[in-house]
């Protein structure tokens, strides 16, 4: 299914010199198309590691990852880049906007790599910036925007290539609880209206309650799943 995420016995071990640091011990995860899933767990439990594996930023040391019915485990690095370009959106905790580019250009960047003609990509970028409520901030550089506004730009950037799956690693981690809730609500709105799958890592249980489902990780294993009513 387009928009589904599935991991089968996903294992990951970091190698620090000669020392092995096992982080994930066999994760079996199933996210349905259009679902909004929150990923919770203590610091160091392996949430970011799991998300990065799903995004194809590192290769797992065991198990399989299937997104949109595509097994990405054995894709080459360049194939993974293309896969991300077409299917995934990514939202970082620290926004990671490119400081020299304006909000509009930051959003356009994704489409530049996809090779869209200037007019088309500008229209799309403007559309998504308006969607996240930044119609009047398009030509601001990141350092001229508040944290919440920067994260909105980053949400727009993650959506502009029309991905079926959006991954977010603590998108509210750098924001105050009010702004964090706004961002979470924004993502939820897009999830419902745009029918996109969201997998969001968060520490904040009250925010996690906004999701369809909360998955808890501890020491590299899924320990609990909670379906929010």
């Amino acid at each position: 299914m387009i928009g589904s995420i599935e991991t089968c016995d996903l294992k990951h071990t970091f190698k620090l010199g000669k020392i092995d640091v096992p982080v994930l011990h066999g994760i079996n995860l199933q996210v349905k198309s259009g679902e909004f899933v929150a990923l919770c767990g203590a610091s160091g439990s392996g949430k970011s590691t799991l998300l990065n594996l799903i995004a194809g930023l590192t290769k797992p040391t065991g198990g399989k990852i299937i997104i949109n019915d595509t097994d990405i485990t054995n894709l080459s690095e360049n194939q993974l880049c293309l896969f991300r370009q077409k299917n995934l959106g990514f939202i970082f905790q620290s926004y990671n906007l490119i400081p020299s580019l304006t909000a509009l250009e930051n959003v356009e960047l994704t489409l530049i790599f996809a090779g869209l003609p200037p007019r088309e990509r500008k229209e799309k970028a403007q559309f998504f910036l308006e969607l996240v409520g930044l119609a009047d901030r398009m030509n601001h550089k990141p350092n001229e925007l508040s944290g919440g506004q920067q994260q909105r730009v980053s949400v727009a950037r993650a959506l502009v290539n029309n991905p079926s799956v959006v991954l977010a690693d603590e998108p509210t981690g750098n924001l105050d609880s009010h702004t964090g809730r706004e961002i979470m609500n924004l993502m939820r709105k897009i999830n419902i209206e745009g029918k996109r799958t969201f997998l969001v890592v968060t520490h904040d249980l009250s925010l996690a309650r906004l999701a369809d489902r909360v998955i808890f990780l501890r020491d590299g294993l899924v320990v609990e799943e909670e379906v929010v009513a």
Partner: protein, 450 residues
Amino acid sequence: MRFLDGIMLVWRNLLRRKSRTFLTALGVAIGTAAIVGMVALAIGLKENAVRSFDNFQDITVLDIYPGWNETPGPNSQTKQLTEDSVADLKRIPGVVGVMPQTGLYGALEVQMGRMVGEGMQVIGVDAREAEKFDFQLQEGTFLSGSKNEAVISYLVPDYMYQKQRNSRDNKDEGHYYRDPFQEDSGVKPRLDMVNKTLNLVLTRHTGEDSLETRTYKVRVKGMLSEGKGQWGPIIYLPMEMVQEMNEWLGHSGFGTGGRSRGRNHVEYEMVRVKVASRNEVEQVVDGIKALGYQTWSPMEAIKEINSFFLVVQLILGGIGAISLLVASIGIMNTMFMSILERTKEIGIMKVLGATIPSIRQMFLLESGLIGCLGGISGLIVGYIFASLVNMAPQSNLFGMPGEELGDIAVIPPWLVLFALGFSIFIGVISGLLPANRAAKISPLQALRQE
């Protein structure tokens, strides 16, 4: 990623670090300027040489004069041009024709009907070799070898003027039929002298105040084309005729007569030699000098100037090569630095879906653009250099009278394209390693950087 988008992104990155971009491009600029200067000189000098071949005279014709010793003394002996010399000269490889010439050791007046002319140079030539010299005639034919023939140079008709009825004393006022230095001279038709008979009147002093004249009748067989042959108004006559004239003049004790001559020993004032091809000119010149005669070829002047500029060219070429090498290292260094600075950006771009080729392309574009900027500035400097060189006084360089020299440094369009292409190439080559490094950056590690 589209090419233009790549350029746009890269351009902004370069603008972000203006002074670093400038300094990196400067190396390329110096190298390009030096190489453009070098090639421009080479092209300009070659074009000039070729042009002077065409303008000046036939390069394959050499004029040979008697040799002389630099240090006069008891042993100083001039090497005369004689019948034997002609035979010697013919033996030099590459020589196809040898034509002795002798001047007239006195003045003569040319008469044709009511027209008279003075101040003409008279040259006796050995007509037997004439056809090997490829004389270019405006009209008629060259000397055939029979007696009482003449060939005139193109300027001769311009030196004829109408004889004044009142007296010959008026001639100093100069009623030229056509003054060659007058602007409106072209209005009157040129005097047609070909196939006409001329009276050549020689005058010699026989005593304090007594003059004696002698008239030779010659028929004008042809007229040389404009700008060909020796310069000036010249009447070419058969060698024997001029020798006879000189003999007659020489009995007076005036003029340059009184030369010691053997019975069958004829001295020539000059011998013209025709060389088979341009390539053999230098070799023939060496051969002639080895025999002890004097000669001069524009080739030598060109060679001297070329060897002077060769040094300049070598210096420029050396500067160019070294500075391009250093510039290339500089670009590499700048690129590595900029990749280090932008590691995180590269990581973000990869997460956003930038492919490995597009990351590589971006950095190659960046280094190529640095090279291109350097190339453009280098071309500008090269143009300034060329115009400075061309402004320098040039007329005495080749030492040829009446010749306009073209530009010494020439920058043709292909050189512009080549210089730009080459500097971009240098930039791209220098960017290869850094671009590969950038493409290999792991997005996760890059994102961990703060």
